[in-house]
């Protein structure tokens, strides 16, 4: 009986507050602007799901809440399913904000279909950190028709053709790799190996990893598919047939000679890249060709379990392909593209955030020594680590990422020098759209498959088969492809060069 008045009083107050539409306990949020209410970003990228993803995500979110009042949900998709799944997501208008993309992951097609938000204005407003970090060169390199649709990861923006050699044999025969300047310099070295190491193939090539392929790829701008290329050395924007360029024909002839001398494995034309790596692992190979960058030998030594040394045989080159090798784009389905851009900006400026995303939580997934170099905690290795996604090269500013103890301490300086020293293709930023000559391109691809492997590995006589190859390409419509490419290149040059060189 006594408590009744108090109860009625409470009721009255409650009603009063409710009527007034103001809740006395939630006043604190009223200060913040409406557009700053907490937002959850969703990011898709190719890769496996590490065990501790949720843990790392929580740590990232703590940081993000602090910085931009946002959270993120990381959604890795297996490499094999990435293209299909992202296409499906666009088709079904799934809400998400960010996705990893690259030239080889349908970047062009998605831009053409309008799946990505055009970033120019957003970059200007929220992405100053990105612009400062990357520099206008690389941003331009990733643009499509002068507009940004993806933010390239700051990593190596160039590639070179090179060879990796077994270090033990290099040491054994006191081979001075620095004296190798052109392919012919390798001939005596291979001969020595051939004579003294009967179990070892001097140069192992496969369908994909051939010296001519790489040399051509990093002396020419392949303009996407290699059907019609640009010779930067020529100093003009003329699209030519790769098979008729000197670097290619010279390299192929060299291969033929080596093949006939028995320096190259006989099954090279049908060997797959993974099978080549297996041969290297088994210690049956002396040298093989790869795309190089600084520290490639260290990386491959660790991967293959064989000590390797590296020698580049071309200068580094930058084409649109390199510039668009790893990008993050904002989906047209994003509900808050501004916040997504703020997050991207943090990836380039916030060292703590990028290292969380790349390597996980300090103490749990890695430990840092006094030099700031990383290693695994006691009892952890790359196999059993609960957060070792290997996706560092996909995100933001790689030069902000910590280095592992087995890595070169000057890796990032070397990367920068590598990037700066590279030959920039005159067509850097040009993106080839093959839709108009689809049928010709696919016919030409079949011809390529028929001949490329056999010719590049030296398995067949180039003098006889290159003309035949050219003949077949022409029959498939190479002429029309080159003409279309030339047309697009000229148009691009018009649109880009004009504002750049007023």
């Amino acid at each position: 009986m006594k408590r009744k008045p108090a109860f009625i009083l409470a009721m009255t107050f409650g009603l009063a507050f409710a009527l007034a539409g103001c809740n006395p306990w939630s006043g604190s949020t009223a200060h913040r602007p409406a557009e700053q209410s907490k937002y959850k970003l969703i990011m898709y990228y190719p890769g496996t799901t590490p065990k501790d993803l949720a843990l790392v995500q929580d740590a990232i979110n703590k940081r993000l809440t602090e910085k931009i009042n946002a959270a993120i949900e990381l959604k890795p998709i297996d490499w094999g399913a990435y293209n299909d799944k992202t296409n499906l997501m666009f088709t079904s208008n799934e809400k998400f904000d960010l996705m990893f993309t690259a030239a080889y992951l349908n970047f062009n097609a998605n831009v053409a279909k309008g799946q990505f938000v055009q970033l120019d204005a957003l970059l200007e407003k929220y992405g100053q950190g990105i612009i400062k970090t990357l520099g206008s060169n690389w941003i331009a390199g990733s643009q499509v028709n002068g507009h940004s649709y993806g933010v390239p990861t700051l990593k190596e923006f160039a590639g070179a053709a090179g060879l990796l050699f077994r270090k033990d044999l290099v040491d054994k025969y006191s081979i001075d790799l620095d004296r190798i300047h052109e392919l012919a310099d390798l001939t005596p070295i291979f001969r020595k190996i051939k004579e003294n190491e009967p179990d070892v193939t001097p140069l192992v090539q496969s369908e994909g990893l051939t010296v001519p392929g790489l040399v051509a790829g990093y002396t020419m701008d392949l303009l996407g598919d290699g059907l019609g290329v640009l010779d930067p050395a020529a100093g003009n924007l003329k699209v030519v047939n790769l098979l008729e360029t000197r670097p290619y024909t010279d390299a192929v002839k060299q291969m033929r000679n080596w093949y006939l001398e028995g320096f190259i494995n006989e099954d090279a034309a049908t060997l797959k890249d993974d099978q080549l790596y297996n041969i290297v692992r088994a210690g049956k190979a002396f040298a093989f060709a790869v795309t190089t960058k600084p520290g490639k030998d260290v990386e491959m030594s660790a991967q293959l379990g064989v000590e390797l040394v590296q020698r580049d045989i071309t200068r580094p080159q930058t084409t649109t392909g390199e510039a668009t090798g790893a990008m993050l784009a904002i989906s047209r389905t994003s509900a808050d593209p501004e916040r997504a851009m703020m997050f991207l900006d943090l990836l380039y400026t916030d060292k703590q955030l990028i290292n969380l995303l790349d390597f996980g939580i300090e103490g749990r997934h890695y430990i840092k020594d006094s030099n700031g170099m990383l290693s695994y905690p006691e009892g952890v290795d790359s196999q059993n680590s609960t957060y070792s996604p290997g996706t560092a090269w996909m995100f933001g500013n790689q030069m902000n990422a910590y280095l592992w103890r087995n890595e070169d301490r000057d890796k990032w300086a070397k990367f920068k020098a590598f990037n700066d020293s590279s030959v920039k293709s005159p067509a850097l930023g040009f993106m080839w759209d093959p839709t108009k000559v689809k049928n010709e391109v696919s016919a030409a691809f079949s011809v390529q498959k028929e001949f490329d492997g056999a010719i590049r590995t030296g398995t067949v006589d180039p003098d006889k088969y290159i003309p035949m190859y050219i003949e077949k390409l022409k029959a498939a419509g190479l002429g029309r492809i080159i003409a279309e490419k030339q047309k697009q290149l000229d148009a691009w040059a018009q649109s880009v060069r004009a504002p750049l060189n007023p």
Binding site: A269, N278, R281
Partner: protein, 603 residues
């Protein structure tokens, strides 16, 4: 020898035997009844248990057989697809056919080779089951291998060496057995299925399927259900994942001697259920081993209860018996014991009140009856004693008048002959004797007093028959104070004279010996009356009790009957009366009575 004492204890012990049997029988009957109830029940439960595990076994076997058939058919499907793919390659793939036509031109051959290899690789996308394809051209011994997922260089070279061997070593006929079915082969340490098809251009196409790949989905399923899956070949050899440690030989012989059973039980370290399925498209047998333990996990409660049931029944029986013991048998036992006590004459025995109503009633009734019997018996005794005492008085008072006449006659004759001395003697003994009778009102007198009276009597008789009678007596000093009913000895002496005495040439001798006898912790007084007369008739000695009950005998021998009954009444079985034959002739009467003196005779 006839014993005077009534043997009540003996009669009780004789009756106790069937009672003991009854008790055991009661318990035994309960056990049997309980057994009759529970044994069929237990048997039924055990049988249900066995039956249900058999049902589970059949169900599990059926389920797994279904799984194997389903999965085996899937494998067969894969193998069939693979087989028809090889046939298509062999018959329709133009690149493979043209290999032979380009043998002369190295470069053209190399290009064809590339095309063939590319074709094989691209076909893997719809031949997911295949591990490796190859084309072999015998003409130039060329082997084109397409293997999208190569494990290592060593693996690849081991496989290509094996394949080359099939075609090249010996007669080059090693590949024949792989041309009709998918046959298993072992390359390196791995098991594969190999199939080879010959083309019409005399080349060969073939494919390898890894058994591990075929098995891995099944093994995932198997691991989930804690069973183990195996591949064997038709001859019973274990292929993957190797023979089971404990049941290898039994399992393989089970597969080899396929008897069409749905499942078999195999004994290794533990019991397994083995179910197998033979593949159509290959010589393989797919088998699963299901540990009995795992299988019967579905009926664990049943099983455990099944083991416990007999024990539970036993326990129940014990509890039941204990309860019964407390409830029925113990009160029963008490009752029986009480009855036995009553039977022994301990009429003051009473039962402790029982808790159950029925036994309480029985106990009360028993107690009441016992006390009634006791009262009755006491009354009867008292009545008997009263009447006997009256009778005795009468008897004692009835002195034989002939004796008096005879004695007076003797005195007369002595007076005739003037033997004053003898008359005086006679008169004195007569006075003593008559005085004894005159004051015969006490119940008990001392042995000395009794003997004095016997002395008077015998001296009177000796005066009557001076040359024919002799009397001697021995009285231990300790015995003379002992108490006994009056006229205990005298009737027997009188009896001896009456029946044993004849005035012949021989002197008739009567002797009385009285002594103290120690038997264990009790003292007795022993009275022996002996003569050298004719002795007892044998019939009398044997059936003393019966004879004494006979009224005709009693009339003639009232003194003995009197003495006997007196002893019996007074001492209640503690006294003893024996008639014996004396040596060399004559009669002997032995009377044993408890030794009591005046001080002891309180009651």
């Amino acid at each position: 020898m006839g014993a005077v004492r009534p043997s009540a204890s003996e009669s009780v012990s004789r009756r106790s035997k069937p009672k003991g049997e009854l008790r055991v029988t009661l318990r035994r009957k309960v056990i049997v009844a309980f057994g009759l109830l529970t044994v069929p029940l237990v048997c039924f439960l055990l049988y249900t248990n066995y039956y249900s595990s058999q049902v589970v076994r059949e169900q599990v076997a059926g389920y797994n057989a279904g799984l194997l058939t389903l999965y085996g058919d899937q494998i067969d499907q894969t193998l069939e697809t693979g087989g028809s793919y090889l046939y298509r390659l062999a018959n329709q793939e133009s690149d493979i056919r043209s290999l032979v036509y380009n043998l002369g031109d190295r470069d053209a051959y190399a290009l064809t080779r590339v095309a063939v290899s590319r074709g094989l690789y691209s076909d893997f996308s719809y031949n997911k089951g295949l591990y490796l394809d190859f084309v072999y051209i015998p003409n130039n011994r060329d082997l084109i291998v397409a293997q999208p997922k190569q494990e290592s260089y060593e693996e690849a070279s081991v496989i290509s060496n094996y394949l080359r061997d099939l075609f090249e070593s010996g007669a080059g006929e090693g590949h024949r057995k792989f041309e009709s079915l998918w046959e298993n082969c072992r390359i390196g340490d791995k098991h594969y299925l190999l199939r080879i098809v010959r083309t019409d251009t005399n080349t060969y196409v073939g494919a390898l399927i890894r058994l591990d790949d075929l098995m891995s989905p099944l093994q995932l399923i198997a691991r989930d259900r804690s069973v183990r899956a195996y591949f064997l070949d038709r001859s019973g050899e274990w292929l993957i994942p190797g023979p089971p440690e404990d049941a290898a030989s039994e399992g393989s012989s089970a597969v080899a001697g396929d008897d069409g059973q749905a499942y078999r039980t195999i004994r290794g370290a533990e019991k397994y259920l083995m179910v197998d399925h033979s593949l159509q498209m290959s010589n393989l047998v797919l088998a699963v081993l299901i540990p009995e333990k795992v299988m019967l996990q579905q009926v664990p409660l049943f099983q455990r209860i099944g083991y416990v049931i007999p024990f539970a029944a036993g326990m129940l029986l014990l509890i039941f018996l204990a309860y019964l013991q407390k409830l029925v048998i113990e009160p029963m036992h008490r009752l029986v014991k009480g009855m036995r006590q009553i039977g022994k004459g301990h009429l003051d025995t009473r039962l402790v009140a029982s808790r159950s109503v029925e036994f309480a009633l029985i106990g009360d009734t028993f107690n009441r009856m016992a006390s009634e019997i006791q009262d009755l018996k006491i009354h009867v005794y008292e009545e008997e004693i009263r009447s006997q005492r009256a009778e005795l008085k009468q008897l004692q008072l009835q002195m034989n008048p002939h004796f008096l006449f005879n004695s007076l006659n003797v005195i007369y004759n002595l007076a005739e002959t003037g033997k004053v001395q003898l008359i005086k003697q006679m008169a004195r003994h007569m006075v003593g004797y008559l005085r004894f009778f005159a004051r015969l009102k006490e119940h008990l007198i001392t042995v000395g007093e009794e003997m004095e009276n016997v002395g008077h009597y015998m001296n009177i008789q000796k005066l009557r028959f001076p040359k024919h009678l002799e009397y001697e007596w021995v009285l231990e000093a300790a015995a003379s104070k002992a108490l006994l009913p009056p006229l205990t000895v005298q009737p027997f002496v009188e009896n001896a004279l009456k029946h044993g005495f004849s005035t012949g040439r021989e002197m008739f001798r009567v002797s009385v010996k009285i002594g103290v006898l120690d038997r264990g912790d009790k003292r007795f007084c022993e009275l022996i009356i002996e003569d050298n007369g004719k002795g007892f008739p044998p019939a009398l000695m044997e059936r003393l009790e019966e004879t004494l009950a006979d009224p005709s005998f009693t009339k003639a021998h009232i003194g003995i009957w009197n003495a006997y009954n007196h002893l019996k009444m007074r001492y209640r079985g503690e006294a003893e009366l024996r008639l014996e034959q004396a040596e060399p002739k004559g009669a002997r009467v032995v009377i044993v009575i408890p030794y009591r003196t005046d001080a002891q005779e309180g009651d």
